[in-house]
C-alpha cells in the first residue's frame, strides 16, 4: 500500500501539468475563436 504514498502525488502532479497547460491556453486566447480555428486548418501554407 505504501506505493500509494508515491503514486497518488505523482498522479496529481501529472494532472496539475494538464491544468497548467489549460490555464495557459485560456490566457493566450486559444478559445477566443473556436470556429475560426476549425477552418484555418483548411488553409494551405504558401510555399516559401
Amino acid at each position: 500500500m505504501s506505493v500509494l504514498l508515491f503514486m497518488i502525488p505523482l498522479a496529481l502532479f501529472l494532472g496539475l501539468i494538464g491544468l497548467a497547460a489549460f490555464i495557459w491556453s485560456i490566457k493566450s486566447g486559444q478559445y477566443s475563436d473556436l470556429e475560426g480555428a476549425a477552418r484555418r486548418i483548411l488553409i494551405d501554407e504558401d510555399p516559401e
Partner: protein, 737 residues
Amino acid sequence: MAGATLSVQPDSDGPVKTGTVIPFIRRDAAADKNELYLSVEGVHCAGCIHKIESALLKFPEVMQARLNFSTRRLHLAWSGAEDMADRFARTVSDLGYRVTPFDPDAAMRRDDGHTRFLLLCLGVAGFAAGNIMLMSFALWTTSAATMGPAMRDFLHLVSALIAVPTVVFSGRPFFLSAWKALSARRTNMDVPISVGLILTTGMSCFELLNHGEHVYFDSVVMLTFFLLIGRYLDDLARSSARRAAGDLIAMMAGAASVVESGKIKSVLIRDLREGMTASIAMGERIPADGVVESGASEIDCSLVTGETIPQPVGPGDPVYGGTINMAAPILVKIRKQAEDSLLGEIIRLMEKAEQGQARYVRIADRAAKLYTPVVHALALLAFLGWVFVGGMAWQPALMVAVTVLIITCPCALALAVPVVQVLAVSRLMRRGIMVKGGDVLERLAGVDTVIFDKTGTLTLGHPALVNGNAIAPGEMQLAASLAARSRHPLSRALTQAYKGDFLDIDVREIPGAGLESVVQGRRVRLGSRGWCGLADDSALRDMMEIVLAVEGETPVIFLFRDLPRSDAADVVRGLERRGIKVMLLSGDRSGIVENIARDLGIAQWQGQITPDGKYKILEGLHAGGHKVLMVGDGLNDAPVLAGADVSISPSSAIGMAQNAAQIVFTGDDLAPVMTAIDTARFSQKLVRQNFIMTILYNLIAVPVAVAGFVTPLVAAVAMSLSSLCVTVNAFRLRRRV
C-alpha cells in the same frame, strides 16, 4: 454630379472614405505600434480568412493581421504612419468585404473577461472532479476494515487538499453573486448553492480532523463542476448575441466628415459640436440635427418618422440626425450636439423604458425564492428532529442535515434552465435569429400581444415597381437606362424591375429634380411630377412615383410601393391562431397604413403616431396586464422596443433599434418571428418538465437523506443522475426546432 456644390466622393457603398478609420486607431508611440479593430462583413469560409490576412501581411509595415472568425473582427497592428490604415481598410474592401472600424470599448472587453473567468473556474473544477475520483472510487468500493483507518484518513486528506482550494477558487462566481443578492436584501439561486458548498466543505473538514467515516469532498467538487457548466453555457448564450449587438453600437458611434477651412476632416460623431459643418455624401446618414447650408437633396426619414416617401430639402431646411441623405451631397450646419438632438431625446425615452424592464425576475430565481426557505427549513427540521426526537448526538445529526443540503443542492435545478435555453438560442442562431440571453425566451413564451411597425418590418423597407405590366417595353427600356445612372431609391427600384439591355446614352442628374438626357434629338426627363410638366395629383399620393417625359409625347407614370414581406399575411394569421393579438402602429400616413392593415388582415391599426404616442399605447397595454412583443426597426420604435416585454428587430434596422431589441433576425421573411415564438414556447415547456423532474427527484431524495441513509456514493450517483436527466430532456429540443 452636376449641380453639386462639393467634390466629395459620393459613393457610399464603395471603398471606405478617406480618413474614416483614423479616429479609431490606438497608437503606442513608444513602441511605434498602431492598432485598429475592423468589423468585416461577408466572411464565410477559410478562403476568406486567408485572402484577407495574406493581402494585409504583404505590406511590410503590418506586424499582425488576424481575423477572428467567430466575431468577424479583424485585429491589425502595424508600425509607421497612422494613415496607412486607410490603405489597409481599402485593401480589404477591394477584396469585396464591407469593413467598418470600431472602438473596442471597455464594457465589451469586460464581457469577454467574464466568459474567460468562468471557463477558468470550470477548467479548475473539472480537473479537481476528475482527480478526486481517484480517491473516491477507492473509498466507495472498499470498507475501512480492508483499507485500514490510516489509509482512509490519508485518502480523505488528499481529497481535502484538492477540494478546498477548488471550492475557494471555482466557487467564486456563486459566492460573489450570492453576496451581491444578499447585500441588496434579495435572494437568488446562488444563495442556497453557496450555503450548500460552504457547509459541506466545512463539515467535511471537521469530519476529516475527527477521523470520521464519511467526507463529501467529492460531492462538493462535482457540484461545483456541474453548476459551472450551467453557468458557462448561460454566459455563452448571452455573449454571442451581445457581441453582435456591440458591433452595431460601435458602428453607430462612427465618424462624420466635417468641413473646416476648405478641408474635409474626419470627426467622431460624439465629438461633433454646434456650428460645425458636416458634409453628407449620398446614401450617408446625417450624424446630428442641423440645417442644410447648401445643396438640395431628398431625405429618407423612414427610420425616424416611419414615413416612406423621401422629403425634399433645400438650403435653410432642418434635418434630423439618423435620417439618410438620398439624392445629392449636401452641407449641413450642426445645430445640436448628437446627444441633444432628436436622437438624444429618443435615447432618454429608451432609458426610461429600460428601467421599467429591470423588474423582470428570471424563472430560475423565482424558483430559488420558493426553494431556498423550504430546503433550509427541512435541513433544520432534520437536525432538530434527530437531536430531540431521535436522541442522536449533535455531530451526526448535523451531518444528516448537511447531507439534506447536499442532496437537494440545486444542481439539476441550476442546469434545468440554461441547458434548454442554450440549445434553443444556438438553434435559433443557426437559422439567422439572434437572441440576446436565455431569459428573453422566457418572456417571449408568455407574450399575448404583438405590435408591428410598418416600414421595414411588415414591409421590406424599400420601394418596388407596381405598374410594370402597364408600361410599354420601349418606354421601360428608356426609363431604366436613365435610372441606371442614379442611386435614388426609386431609380434603383426601376432598374431592378427591368431585365433587358440598357441604351448607351449620356445622362445628367439634377439633384432634387431628376435625370435628363437627349435621345435621338429629343429631350428626355425622368423625375418628379412638377419637373416633368404634370400637374400635382394628390389622389395617388399614397404611392411613390416617377415620371418619364419624352419631349412631345404623353408622360408615363411609374408607380412604386413599399411591398409587404411575402409571408407577412401568413405570419399575422399564424399569430392569431396561436391566440396572440396583432396590432399595427406606424408613423406613416394613415392612408398607407390602412391599406397595409387591410391587405394583411390586421384589425387594430393606427397611423401618424409619434414615438411618444407609441410608448403611451404600450403603457396602456401594460396597465391592462398584457405581455407585449414589439417588432420594429426604426428610431421611432426604439423606446417601445426597449419598453416592451420582448422586442424583435430585423437586421436591416438601424443600430439603435437592434440594440434595444432582444432578438434580431436576418433575411427577407417575417417567419422568424413565428419561429422564435414557437421555440420559446416549446423550450419553456421543457423547462417546466425539468422543474417537475427535479421536484420528483427531491421528493425521493429528501426522505432518504433525512432518514440518514445518504453516503458519499449515494450523493454522487443521485446528483449525476438528476443532472443527466434534465440535460437529456433538454436535448429533445433538437428534434423539434
